[in-house]
Symmetry: C2
Subunit: 258 residues, 2 copies
């Protein structure tokens, strides 16, 4: 099933999603941006899409309207947009509920959340991206499944009550693991050591963890209960009290988890 779709927003997700939807055979009819220049730079990546900076879509041929803007900007956009009858309005955020679309003129609402980190400068293969779907309306959910399936084989229907857990889990898995690399980079730089030498270890650690599960693959002084080394490391980090505290707390949690 091929859809006619309008995209509202010009950020990283819209930037990748637009062309991917066209590659999958759908038609992007319009791209909305408050800044028309930004909307135009995205329509240049598309076949027939028209750039727009007003929210009157009453004459649009699109059936699905995808809001892909910062979390804090979704509600204003949803409230203002004028939609044709029988439209489906969705957003692509993982941390905002369905209810934010409740005051819109849409007949049906949903969430189409690509669980991935997007940046304009990196190519992204959508067939690896899991799509997390939500809607109160079964027919809409079926439509969103078809749409997601045309982009990726990985789809999950999410319940509202699970969204927060999923987001917290993603923060640990992505933001916090990245911060561990950041702290590691800083320790190396401070000592004048080349961070390159740690990269193969990081790649193998994460690959192994994803293959066998992080519980089975933990190594290091904490899981060995090597309190001598833990204390030495804690002392070593005394130039930054907060980082020393992070070292202590995570080590304690590793000790307590086994």
């Amino acid at each position: 099933m091929k859809f006619k779709i309008a995209i509202l927003g010009t950020g990283n997700v819209a930037w990748h999603l637009g062309p991917a939807l066209e590659d999958a055979g759908h038609t992007i009819t319009e791209v909305f941006g408050r800044d028309i220049e930004k909307a135009s730079s995205l329509t240049k990546r598309l076949y027939v899409a028209e750039a727009k900076d007003d929210l009157d879509f009453s004459d649009s041929e699109a059936r699905i309207f995808i809001i892909s803007v910062s979390d804090h900007a979704i509600s204003e956009l949803a409230d203002e947009i004028i939609l044709p009858e029988e439209s489906i309005l969705v957003h692509t955020s993982g941390s905002v509920g369905l209810d934010i679309l409740g005051y819109s003129s849409a007949a049906y609402t949903g969430i189409l959340y690509p669980l991935q980190t997007f940046s304009k400068e990196r190519r992204l293969d959508f067939s690896d991206v899991p799509f997390l779907l939500e809607s109160d309306d079964q027919t809409t959910l079926q439509q969103l499944k078809k749409l997601a399936k045309s982009l990726s084989p990985h789809q999950y229907v999410i319940k509202s009550k699970d969204r927060k857990a999923l987001h917290v889990a993603a923060v640990f898995a992505s933001n916090f693991s990245n911060h561990m690399l950041r702290l590691s980079e800083e320790i190396m730089a401070r000592q004048g050591l080349d961070f390159e030498m740690l990269k193969p270890l990081i790649i193998e650690t994460i690959s192994k963890s994803l293959e066998l599960g992080a519980k089975k693959t933990q190594t290091g002084p904490a899981i060995r209960g090597d309190f001598g080394v833990l204390d030495e490391h804690y002392q070593f980090l005394n130039y930054n009290e907060q980082v020393a505290e992070i070292y202590k707390l995570i080590s304690q949690d590793i000790i307590d988890s086994y």
Copy 2:
């Protein structure tokens, strides 16, 4: 330059290092293990190596002796081993100094530390492994460089004073990033959600971070200064005080780092 080498130890590093050294053209003459069965299971992976459970190597043809055992077992082994004249004795640990080999009968000592995580069930390509080398003797250091170069293009000469910083950095990069995945797995499991859906995000996060640097690639509620979400997440984690504390402390450190 091809070496004759004896391996002392039968753990994960020895298991991979022995065959890799032979593939690089060196000869493994003996494998020592306190448990002769374990030594034999490693010699079966090698051409001519003899399994031994005694430490008298006075008649060995080897010139380089590699101790590859748990950190706490290095010193006893180094003290007991009887070596031929002009031998080089090295260990493969990243957290133990050169001085631990000081009481041995070796003419020269050094460290040949493969900075990687090893497990018997996973194949490992040594050409990706950085070797960290150390010796007080320049000729020995040259020999170790040649040996390491035969296994991998990545070698770094490390000074004793840098070893601790490197180890602390590796704990953050590997052990702690793995623990972040562990905590994420647990949050998902507790909610009955499939951890599979987070794997593409993790892979992309780490790839991007290694390519562009973790400072540039940080995302999430902390760096956005989204205190509403941070507080919601903290409340959500109230079933485990220590994990909630980890969430708070790392978020604070992300906020403070930008």
